[in-house]
Structure formats: structure tokens, C-alpha cells
Amino acid sequence: DAASTPTSLSRDWLSVQEVVDAVSSSSCGAISVFIGTTREDELDGRKVIGLEYEAYELMAQSEFTKLCADIRERWPTVTHICVHHRLGWVRPVLPWQISSPHRHDSQQAIQRCIDQLKANIPIWKKEVYDTQDSSWKENAECSWSTRNKSSSESV
């Protein structure tokens, strides 16, 4: 069956099974799955009660497409790639799945997918605390983040 790259940004609950079904293939002996979830973090005594996600949706879709092309170039045996990311008010977040004939490629590919998503896909996360305040988070992988001082000169 042909290689596919379905991506979805959704305000509804995500189904891991739906994503598994999207990448299953008779030619593949491996499916790698990454599911991001909400940690029960505390920051300065404030408890995180949830996350609010927003995206620049059209650009996120085009960046996903670029990212998947990069993955296929690096690991030509990768067959299906499927990414679902939640938007809006969230607890569980992000099933990612990649299938390939053998596990090594799919495991390396999914690692790069997640790193590159955090660096390049225009999605933002706000932590909301039990004290009713909130803060926008920054990924260390993002080159213009304050958490990424080494490359901030290039911006």
C-alpha cells in the first residue's frame, strides 16, 4: 500500500487506535508510537491543572509536510507517518505513529519527528495553574526561545 502522511490538529479527544489503524501495513513489522501527556507538574507551589494549545493551523500543516519529507529522505524505508496533535484545553496530548519494515528505522524516525516538531511547528502551549494564573511555555528545541541561548544570535 502507498506511503501516507495524515496529520490532524484536533479540538476533540484523540484516539490511539485510530492512529495505529492509519499506519498499519502488511509490509511493516514495526509501528513506533509516541504519546505526549500532561505531567502533573508543580511550579513554585502552583499545580498545573491543564494545558491550552493553539496553532497557526495552515502553517503547522505545511511545516508537518516538510518534516515528513525530511523523515522520508533520512529513512527511505519509513512507510506511514501519522501525527495527531490536540488544540484547545487538553489533558492527553499527542499520539505520533510511524511504521517501517523494521523497528530501528521507525524508532529513530519518531525521535527526530518529535525533536523537529518542538523546534519548528507553530504550536503554542500555555500552562494553567490552580491559582488561576498561567504562563506560555517555550521549547528548548526552538532556536529563538530564551531557553536556547546558543543559537539566539542568529535571530
Partner: protein
């Protein structure tokens, strides 16, 4: 020449400006640094994001700097605070 572009704000920049999008008249061609300065003049509170923001012009990332962009009426210019997806 001047173009009317659609400026989109996301995440913290929405809170700082109080708007999600607005039409802005921008001289063109223009450096991305001057686009950012022009937005700072409209919304001084955006200075909180100084040195930790990039722009996206027609959905392509452009660092705030010397790069010159040519803008047409209706083009999308987005203010992109540090990303936090995943």
C-alpha cells in the same frame, strides 16, 4: 509603495496586543527588522518579546533582521513567539 497586509498574532503576542489579527499598511520592500519595529510602534507591549520572536511571511519563517521581504496586499505576516508544541 505600501501594501495592506494581514498581521496575525499568536500565544503571548495576543495577550500583549489584545488582538488576534489586524490589517496593517506596510511600506514594501522592507527588512524584517523594520516590520517588527512598525509592529512595536503600534503595540509597545510587544517589546517583551524583543530578541525572542521571529516572523512568518506567507507562512515561511523569517528571522527579525536584515532580510528584505516584498509584501503584496493581503499577504499574511505572523508574529511567532517561542514555540511550545509537543
Amino acid at each position: 509603495m505600501t501594501s495592506s497586509v494581514c498581521v496575525l498574532y499568536f500565544a503571548k503576542s495576543v495577550e500583549l496586543t489584545g488582538v488576534k489579527e489586524e490589517i496593517v499598511a506596510v511600506p514594501t520592500p522592507i527588512s524584517s527588522r523594520d516590520v517588527w519595529r512598525l509592529l512595536l510602534q503600534r503595540h509597545q507591549r510587544l517589546s517583551v518579546l524583543q530578541d525572542q520572536v521571529v516572523l512568518a511571511v506567507r507562512q515561511q519563517y523569517v528571522a527579525v533582521g536584515d532580510q528584505v521581504v516584498t509584501l503584496a496586499d493581503g499577504d499574511e505576516v505572523a508574529v511567532v513567539p517561542p514555540l511550545s508544541g509537543g
